[in-house]
């Protein structure tokens, strides 16, 4: 009873908020832009019928030649903003306005509130991502004149799932911060800082560490190949602490059957004479480590926010 009414209220609130159309436009426009430019570049090459499905998926996951980054890249970049926008003031706003206290004074359990908020937020995220993805897929089909095929359709569903986990984990971060910080602005800033850190700064830091550890500077000006390989391996391993990396790996491996490896050897694999596309099963196997890491972070963050909310003491300052 309690959870359902909270979910209903939350969903209504999200859908009627002014933020909702904004974030929807953000994700949709970036999707459409990538698809459009992708199709443009594909249109110049003749595509054989056998290659159509793969080409279609490549449009979403990105190609080397496309001028703009791919849909995967955009979701990876802006997805966190969607999650954060839906949750950064979820709890503290209600505490500040007194509605939290009023809600709690009714015969419901406290966990109903946080569960309701999580369920509602995740529903909205799922709705947003599947909507935006469907629109982009439809748009690409319209101007490219071919579809992704059955296997491709399943790949797209898995991609939606991975995106859901990724955006969902940032939603959890926002929710957690909205419990920890009493002011919505503080929590928004904390979220944005974390987002900037994990999408930009972490790669600079990782690069510096990898350069030092592999001894690239020590071997300057002509380091041996082994040092380079080591540098790439370290950089790759460390960059996986960022959910952005994990998501990009999982999503592109799930979408694009041409991706045969997520490690540095991918670069060699690309150069093999006739690289065979992977079957869906194998793509899932390939994406699984990153996918499950995303799932783990997702669960940890949401659990943390539930625990923090349940342990927070109702104080007179809540009134």
């Amino acid at each position: 009873m309690g959870v359902r009414s909270i979910v209903r209220k939350e969903v209504a609130e999200h859908l009627s908020s002014k933020r909702f159309p904004l974030i929807f436009m953000l994700i949709l426009l970036s999707g459409l832009a990538t698809a459009y430019f992708g199709v443009q570049s594909v249109a110049q090459a003749r595509i054989r019928e056998a290659e159509q499905a793969i080409t279609f998926l490549r449009l979403l996951s990105g190609t080397g030649e496309a001028p703009l980054p791919s849909f995967v890249y955009f979701v990876g970049l802006f997805g966190p903003i969607i999650g954060i926008a839906l949750s950064f003031d979820s709890i503290n706003r209600e505490v500040a306005s007194g509605s939290m206290l009023k809600m709690l004074s009714n015969p419901i359990r406290r966990d109903n509130i946080i569960t309701g908020k999580i369920v509602a937020g995740l529903l909205i995220i799922l709705l947003l991502i599947s909507c935006a993805t469907s629109l982009v897929v439809g748009f690409v089909m319209l101007i490219a004149g071919f579809g992704p095929g059955i296997e491709g359709a399943f790949r797209i569903i898995y991609f939606v799932l991975a995106s859901f986990l990724y955006v969902g984990l940032w939603f959890g971060v926002g929710l957690l911060f909205s419990i920890i910080f009493r002011r919505a602005t503080t929590s928004a800033l904390a979220c944005i800082s974390l987002w900037i850190f994990f999408t930009i700064f972490v790669y600079w830091i990782v690069d510096i560490i990898a350069t030092e550890l592999a001894g690239l500077r020590y071997h300057f000006p002509s380091p041996p190949l082994a040092a380079y390989v080591q540098y790439f391996e370290i950089r790759e391993a460390l960059s996986r602490i960022s959910p952005f990396t994990l998501y990009a790996e999982a999503a592109s491996a799930l979408l694009n059957p041409e991706i045969r490896s997520l490690s540095i050897f991918y670069y060699y694999a690309q150069d093999l004479p006739t690289p065979q596309p992977l079957s869906l099963d194998l793509s899932i196997v390939l994406a699984w480590p990153s996918f499950s890491a995303l799932m783990a972070i997702f669960i940890i963050v949401l659990t943390l926010s539930i625990v923090t909310f349940m342990r927070a003491e109702v104080k007179p300052t809540w009134a």
Binding site: E13, S97, G98, L101, K102, A319
Partner: protein, 308 residues
């Protein structure tokens, strides 16, 4: 009053936040159908006490019972029977009055069939029926408070707890809120427990009051019995001499006598008008006027001190 009529009972209720003692050994009984007011300055522990009565904050020691349910072990049962209006009314500004009530009705499991009718009745009761479909963001503070009261009434509570319902509301609005609460106690037998720091409101409407300061209840009693503790008698005479003043000072409950020209202001802890007149009898002095005022303000000031 018999034991059965006690609706809220607190026994040695204590709440500490670290070193700070917010509520200290609070003992209190509120009877059914009563208009009870908790008076005290900000930070006296009134809100904390309410939060404990609602089972939202766990007491450090001691316990409380509301409607016969222990607030620590059966908070849900307590919250089924108690309506709460926080100081910030906690309504959703983007929703209409009706939508706000619908959400609370939903939370309380009010069946769909009766919901519409009930919301309409409550809006009518608090005088907001014509505003039912307006967004709450447009409402004045007083209207919000009345809507919050309707919101708290949706579960048909036995007890209504209100935290500073008149704070920031204009005098007319405050009168409306308080007379609405009074009607609820008289006509529907709802027990009202509210906090305030505005004495003149409390004096007029409540049956009993408790003065709370620094986490402790220092005085409980009916309004009439409390106000009797400090009285002011103002006398206007044709002439005043020091002899008269010293004679009045000798009377049993007189605390101080001040002279302002031909006026004498006597502060007492009882009604000594007759004695004062007797002191003057036999003299040629004429009394031009006499005013007797029981003063809750002075009682409050005595207990709460200068910190108000």
């Amino acid at each position: 009053m018999s034991e059965k009529d006690v609706v809220i009972k607190a026994v040695n209720l204590t709440k500490k936040y670290g070193d700070l003692v917010a509520v200290k050994n609070l003992n209190l009984e509120v009877y059914e159908g009563e208009f009870f007011c908790l008076l005290g300055p900000n930070g006296a522990g009134k809100t904390t006490t309410f939060l404990m009565f609602l089972g939202l904050t766990r007491p450090t020691s001691g316990s409380a019972w509301v409607c016969g349910y222990n607030v620590i072990t059966h908070p849900i049962e307590v919250r089924k029977r108690v309506g709460f209006v926080p100081e910030a009314p906690g309504l959703y500004d983007d929703l209409t009055a009706r939508e706000n009530l619908t959400f609370t009705a939903d939370l309380n499991g009010v069946p769909k069939g009766v919901r519409e009718k009930k919301i309409k009745e409550l809006l009518e009761k608090v005088g907001l029926l014509e505003w039912a479909d307006e967004k709450v963001g447009k409402f004045s503070k007083g209207m919000k408070q009345r809507l919050a009261i309707a919101d708290a009434l949706i579960k048909d509570p036995k007890v209504l707890i209100l935290d500073e319902p008149t704070a920031g509301v204009d005098p007319t609005g405050s009168e409306e809120i308080l007379s609405l609460l009074k009607t609820l106690t008289r006509e529907e037998g709802i027990t009202v427990l509210m906090s305030s720091h505005l004495l003149h409101h409390v004096e007029k409407y409540s049956d009993r009051i408790a003065i709370m300061t620094r986490g402790e209840i220092v005085r409980v009693g009916s309004v009439s019995s409390l106000t009797k503790e400090e009285n002011v008698i103002e006398l206007e005479l044709t002439e005043v001499d020091e002899d008269l003043i010293s004679k009045i000072l000798e009377l049993r409950v007189v605390k101080s006598v001040e002279r302002h020209g031909n006026k004498i202001v006597i502060v007492t802890s009882g009604d000594v008008r007759e004695e004062v007149l007797r002191v003057m009898s036999g003299n040629i002095r004429k009394v031009l006027g006499m005013k007797f005022t029981p003063s809750l303000e002075r009682v409050y000031a005595r207990y709460v001190g200068e910190g108000t």
